[in-house]
């Protein structure tokens, strides 16, 4: 059996108005009728909950990159950091936005290679090539 969360889950029916407003916005933006557990633990600090949700909504929406590409980046970083919850939640989000298994496997091939070559470079310390240095 998994260990219980470090702080209790703040359920909608027990939440303050401030927290409910965030939960309502999460469900409206995502067009779902439920809120996932990440937000229910963050809700112990309503200002933190609101700030994190507002920022994530801005960052993960369409811009110079499309939302699916952003989910793929999220998966790669979460794998690098070994965050179990985030791996499940962002894989599910990416699938909902159209990620196929083939795309997932390619994300992980790239993330795996980056994790490997990052360490080769960190250990061998090649100088940064002049051709790679940004020009004014």
């Amino acid at each position: 059996m998994s260990n219980p969360p470090i702080v209790s889950l703040v359920q909608y029916e027990d939440a303050s108005d401030e927290v409910r407003a965030v939960y309502d916005d999460i469900m409206a933006v995502r067009q779902t009728d439920w809120v996932n557990n990440f937000w229910k633990v963050l809700a112990h600090d309503p200002a933190h909950l609101k700030r994190t949700w507002e920022a994530l909504k801005d960052v993960m929406g369409p811009g110079a990159l499309d939302p699916l590409t952003k989910e793929l980046i999220y998966i790669a970083v979460s794998a690098t950091n070994g965050c179990e919850y985030c791996t499940y939640s962002h894989t599910a989000s990416a699938r909902a936005k159209g990620m196929t298994d083939a795309m997932l496997m390619e994300v992980l091939s790239v993330a795996g290679k980056a994790n490997e070559t990052n360490r080769l470079a960190n250990a061998l310390r090649p100088p940064v090539d002049i051709q790679f240095q940004p020009q004014d």
Copy 2:
């Protein structure tokens, strides 16, 4: 002044035939007339050099994801791991494939948020929602 590399740079003119064959392929695939320093330190182990280059060539080419998306993922992972060399080399590669500054800044917004929320989830340990669990 930077510290020197941990092992010397194996220059083309001093390289074995086995190493030169890899250098030649790197330049042919990339359509350049130079080889970057990462490969010149790896060349101390020719089999490792060849294996890493062959794998990277496969992984970073077109597939279910396009090569630019793959470079963006590489940047996000390299930032997460703090690899200085990789940050410079993959930012340069991504720019050569069409990455704008706006795209770079969005990659980093996403990578930054992932690094932040990964730690919130790791510290608060919410259970993985049943809705996020893969179904057979």
Copy 3:
């Protein structure tokens, strides 16, 4: 010589009104007449600049914890992640808020031990004691 930054520094005189407003607020809150380079690279994405500054201003201000304690936590995390810039900037901030060398050395003793014992636990996988599990 250090490598140049990945994107240019946006100086006050070249900044848009939106960026200048953030720079002005940074200087007002900190009671200084200069803005540090971290913000000058982030300024390539004015919305990201503003969001990050607003969040940091909120998070690092007084609350259940005092601002100096928060800087000490920032130093410990930055050391764990190996961020050179952050190590310099947050050590300077902490000193400005009263951190002595003795306090710095104790932060690092704790951060060092945490980094050590985190890996012992990750490698040996002791079950979480029932006494450590949160109760409803």
Copy 4:
């Protein structure tokens, strides 16, 4: 069901005199009648057990920083590294020393922001400002 520990738990009744002496000191210092599982796996190397406990006792005691502040730093580092056991054990220790939920949430806001901005700095490589450089 969780996976079993990598090495067995060395229980008090099965422990050598050398290990028992450490267990006794742990219980005396903490004024408890039990020893947590982290020490019971480390006990497979009695010298390592003793060295780690002695160092931790010194480091986590009062000094230029108070013991509660030290536990908060431990939580921030453990969240950064994703150590599940350490998250549970040090959250419990911090609570026993007076940490409120509001304090925990603020620690995590700071640790989250540090993890985010560390990567922004690592990716954009702003030069360290002259004002942040230590003076002789």
Copy 5:
């Protein structure tokens, strides 16, 4: 209960010929009649499966270092990164190659110290001594 894997396990009886060929080689090299779950999830990308297995077979075989030393290094890195699956699989592999509990505990003492002193150096930024710099 553990969360299910992110992608299903590709069992031998359901595998393509390409995947079966890799599974057969894994069992032949290891002289076992089963394939562990890591390969069964990777099998969703047969080229990735084959590339990873071929590389690992080369890297982990005898060379300038013996296979047991290589498993010890794998354990140290897996502990540093907090990979649960890898900790179990490589501890088991190392034991099969002769690792005793005393050896395991020493690997972890070293890995623990490295994780600690890495952060002390990253936080205090001593210049690299001239004596440690590689000479041409």
Copy 6:
């Protein structure tokens, strides 16, 4: 030009008796007439200096593993964490103990692969095989 260290280097001639005793022991054990910069920054906390040196002396000496193997593990972890100073110092130590370039390159092949497969396992979450689980 590199940034200066965060705290000044405590030189032998300016050191307290307590610090000098550690410096003397470092030189005696290593049979050298100089002390490297890592210890000179740690010396701002003499108890921390002494504790770290004593522990490192114990951990890195001969035991179930030989000192060279321990240096190889240190290099692998330092590469994983991206510690520049530690990479230089422990590569130099390992070379002094007999590490060849071929051995260094193999350590990094293994460390690279571990960093890659750790992320594949963390992202795909295969269940730990029953055969890998320790038996009582």
